[in-house]
């Protein structure tokens, strides 16, 4: 994939190795993608497929002994191998991140206000009164009523949805140009999820941000994203525009995912699950990682792992059989 003027973040051959007591985990394996300005890119995949690890790698948050290789170009600058000092100017300031668990991602012993101001102080050199004002403004922006008084509250005094919003406020404090959102709504109820996703989309409009939205909920993807990257066992297996993807998946795994969802017409009929479970990332066979669970697998899937290659209409797939895959049966609700 080539970098164009509208590309804000470009990831090439990203690899993450995590040593564990029971062997080294190759959690992210040669991931490439571009993020365009103002775009919401969905990153989907099942639990453990490497979504969060990828996101952390983009900000160089991994610590020794975890090894990260590859290149992450932000605005033309390679973040990989940047000093901690230089990175700090990017983290939070240019690229903000919100985490999966609103319960655990806020420091329980600092007030929400302190946690917002911390960011303002670091990147906007705001202190005292102006910082306070700006913090209140941010909380208000994410829809927390009586924002100024709530600044003095501790995270545990907020409900789950409010925490998630507070976290967004913190990440947005210094108006980053890219927002990395790691399953921002997984722990929430649908009604709250709805509010949060709307909030992110609205902010994208207002601030012209680009967003990478990590999720495993295909519904969220369909409703929120412009483009989707599907991850399986540490690799991207398919990228496509959101409409294309839902209309015609070009990877057996994506297809399997969609088929395993209940179908409106088929009340109490058996679903079509993907058999088996995802592979152990410590020991990946020399083959398409999905092949053991795939009903389309053939000799061609073995021998080497198929790379993610462009197919038509700006789509890419790592499936040998991408051309043969049937369309999805009408999925409407």
């Amino acid at each position: 994939m080539t970098e164009s003027a509208s590309t804000i973040l470009s990831v090439q051959n990203l690899n993450v190795h995590i040593p564990t007591p029971r062997g080294e985990l190759h959690a992210v394996r040669g991931v490439d993608f571009d993020l365009q300005r103002g775009e919401v890119l969905g990153l989907v995949g099942e639990s453990g497929s490497g979504k969060s690890v990828t996101l952390r790698a983009l900000l160089q948050l991994h610590r020794k002994p975890i090894r990260v290789t590859g290149a992450v170009h932000y605005d033309g600058q390679n973040l990989m191998g940047l000093s901690e000092g230089r990175l700090r100017a990017v983290r939070g300031a240019q690229i903000g991140m919100i985490f999966q668990e609103p319960m655990t991602a806020l420091n329980p012993v600092l007030t929400i206000g302190e946690q917002i101001r911390e960011n303002l102080q670091e990147h906007r050199a705001l202190r005292g009164r102006p910082a306070e004002d700006r913090a209140a403004e941010l909380l208000d922006l994410v829809g927390i009523p009586s924002a100024r008084t709530r600044l003095k509250d501790y995270p545990h005094q907020f409900s789950g949805g409010m925490r998630q919003r507070a976290m967004i406020a913190i990440a947005l404090a210094s108006e980053p140009r890219v927002l990395l959102a790691d399953e921002p709504t997984t722990a929430l109820d649908v009604t709250i999820q709805d509010q949060i996703l709307r909030l992110i989309l609205r902010l994208r409009e207002q601030l012209g941000m680009s967003v990478i939205l990590v999720t495993h909920d295909l519904g969220v993807v369909a409703q929120t994203c412009d483009r989707v990257a599907v991850m399986y066992a540490g690799r991207l297996v398919e990228t496509a525009g959101v409409t294309d993807l839902f209309r015609q998946p070009r990877h057996a795994y994506t297809l399997g995912l969609m088929r395993s969802l209940p179908d409106i017409g088929a009340h109490r009929r058996p679903l079509q699950p993907i058999p088996g479970s995802p592979p152990d990332l410590r020991d990946i066979p020399q083959a398409c990682a999905f092949s053991p669970r795939c009903s389309f697998s053939s000799q061609a899937c073995f021998g080497a792992e198929p790379p993610l290659i462009p197919i038509r209409d700006g789509r890419a797939s790592a499936c040998v059989h991408h051309a043969e895959l049937p369309g999805v049966v009408e999925v409407t609700s």
């Binding site: 948050l61 983290r91 939070g92 329980p108 911390e118 670091e122 990147h123 501790y154 913190i170």
Partner: protein, 312 residues
């Protein structure tokens, strides 16, 4: 909120205190060997022993003795030491500050030693630095206090002459100087316990999502370490420190005798061996109040550090 919280905790001490009172009274009376014998030497005749018992009020039935004890207590009279022939209150007033000074001093040394070293060990986990720090403190934990005390005395006191051997001194600076070795002895031991837990909680906190989040904000690592990691890791450590203050006061028993410090620890041991009931009673009550207060303070500090506590 804060005031009622304090009051509530204070009220909780009272029943414990009453139980302590009864327990101490009984415990002391269960000691075999009567105080008269303890006070009198080899040569006293049975008549003298009997007379002394009468003087000490030991011939009365237990409930009467308890009644008298409580009555006096309410008047602020803790009785008179049967061996030192001095009001117990005066003894305690004289000696408690020394032990408190020593304990606080030791606690401060422990914290000053433990916090930076625990941070270092945690940050450099599984390197030789970590192993060294943990190893040294493990050894410290495995040696008897009196042995460490005597070695420190011999080496830093007698051989190198850096510190005085025992005593307490007159002025505040004197106290600091005189009590340095005993405080170090106690503090090192406490630090060993603290380092272990603090290191583990730092390691735990380091993996917490909010630390990652803080880093993702682009904060300086110092800020992340102090404000986010340490502050959370210290919460459990404060509780541990509080729980160990009791042990610290207990440890003072031995340290005070090795370092010739006239504190309440030594007084207690002398009193136990000398069957000095009034002193044992008085001191136990003071210990009980003291430890309860320390627990209370620990709770308050904990509540300060951890906002979740008060509101829960």
């Amino acid at each position: 909120m804060r005031a009622t919280y304090v009051l509530k905790r204070l009220l909780q001490i009272i029943p414990t205190f009453i139980a302590v009172l009864i327990l101490v009274f009984l415990l002391v009376r269960l000691l075999p060997g009567d105080p008269a014998s303890a006070i009198l030497g080899d040569r006293a005749t049975p008549e003298i022993v009997e007379r002394t018992r009468r003087e000490l009020g030991l011939d009365k039935p237990l409930p009467v003795q308890f009644g008298i004890f409580v009555q006096h207590l309410l008047r602020g009279d803790l009785g008179e030491s049967s061996s030192l022939k001095v009001p117990v209150l005066r003894l305690i007033v004289e000696r408690l500050p020394i032990t408190l000074f020593l304990s606080v001093y030791a606690a401060i040394i422990a914290v000053l030693l433990a916090v930076p070293l625990a941070v270092l060990a945690a940050v450099r986990r599984n390197t030789w630095v970590d192993s060294l720090i943990r190893g040294v403190f493990q050894v410290a934990l495995s040696l008897p206090v009196f042995y460490v005390a005597l070695q420190l005395l011999t080496l830093l006191g007698a051989k190198l002459g850096w510190f005085p051997i025992g005593g307490y001194g007159e002025t505040f600076r004197d106290h600091l100087y005189h009590l340095f070795l005993p405080a170090l002895t106690l503090g090192f031991n406490l630090a060993a316990i603290l380092v272990r837990t603090l290191r583990n909680s730092i390691l735990e906190v380091l993996t917490a999502e909010y630390v990652e989040f803080a880093r993702s904000k682009g904060l300086q690592s110092r800020v992340v370490m102090l404000r986010h990691v340490l502050r959370n890791a210290l919460i459990s450590t404060v509780t541990l420190l509080g729980l160990n203050i009791g042990a610290l006061i207990g440890g003072a028993v031995i340290t005070e005798s090795v370092f010739a410090i006239p504190g309440v620890g030594r007084l207690m041991i002398d009193a136990i061996f000398g069957r000095d009931y009034p002193v044992i009673q008085g001191l136990t009550l003071v210990f009980a109040v003291l430890v309860s207060l320390v627990f209370l303070m620990t709770d308050l500090i904990h509540a300060r550090l951890d906002p979740r506590v008060q509101h829960a």
